[in-house]
Symmetry: C2
Amino acid sequence: MPLEARLGYLLKHAQQRLTRASAEALAPFGVDGHELAVLAVLAAEYPLSQVEVAGRLGVDRTTMVALVDGLEDHGLVERRRSPQDRRKNIVELTAAGHDCLRQAELARRETERRFLAPLGEEAGAALVRALRVLVVGVREGEE
Amino acid sequence: MPLEARLGYLLKHAQQRLTRASAEALAPFGVDGHELAVLAVLAAEYPLSQVEVAGRLGVDRTTMVALVDGLEDHGLVERRRSPQDRRKNIVELTAAGHDCLRQAELARRETERRFLAPLGEEAGAALVRALRVLVVGVREGEE
DNA sequence: TATTGTTATACTCTATAACTATA
DNA sequence: TATAGTTATAGAGTATAACAATA
């Protein structure tokens, strides 16, 4: 069996290509894929502490520290202590963070669209559905 | 857009799951996915030097050194100097290497089959075809 | 005693540079 | 001079352990 037919090889290289394309597309906005995901989680739910964001993203809290550091350095989020539980840092999107999220999300979606374009509309959607079944374990609409 | 619908997330986690499953399946044979790929390349073509194997696999020659070291330690391959070009190490499968390849390949295929099983036969094949188009850039049979 | 944020540490992967021996 | 194998080094990414503040 040739190397390029192995599922492991295909998944790895597909992921690497998309990661590279995303990095290029997101570079103008000063964020990478992980940072954009943090912004998206923060926009979807409020208030969230660092561990809560980490939980949503499936990374651990030590990784989240550096992630929030970077976003705060760029003025996209702000930390503030929760008055209810002073152990917690509530992470909050700034106005610049909202702007960045909106623009970078558009760029990310366009990158995914271009990435899947060689498949055509139908096969592209089928690929995403199939991956969802494998990873999340459910079919469209379920859960 | 929820996190679990992002193509990047899906590809990354699909790859991680398959990697874990493969590692478990291959462990009894004393090789990992990379090492098995080396054995497969060596079985398909002869003679091959270290750089030639590296080229087939898309890794660089410094990575190949450690890979061949490990395989040689386990008695699965042997290095010998090429008489035609004494700079080159011809890497050769031993009898144990052939055995290991045969058995581990069966285990790897079975692992892929189980991994894709939730999709059903047709959708599983469609997934592999789609990934091939995205990664290799060709459709079934072309190239 | 458990949790949150943080830092430090270690371990894997990978990329680069440099050395040797050969051509 | 260029190539093959090797080694050493450095960088990203990630996992673990420990500590201070707080509950």
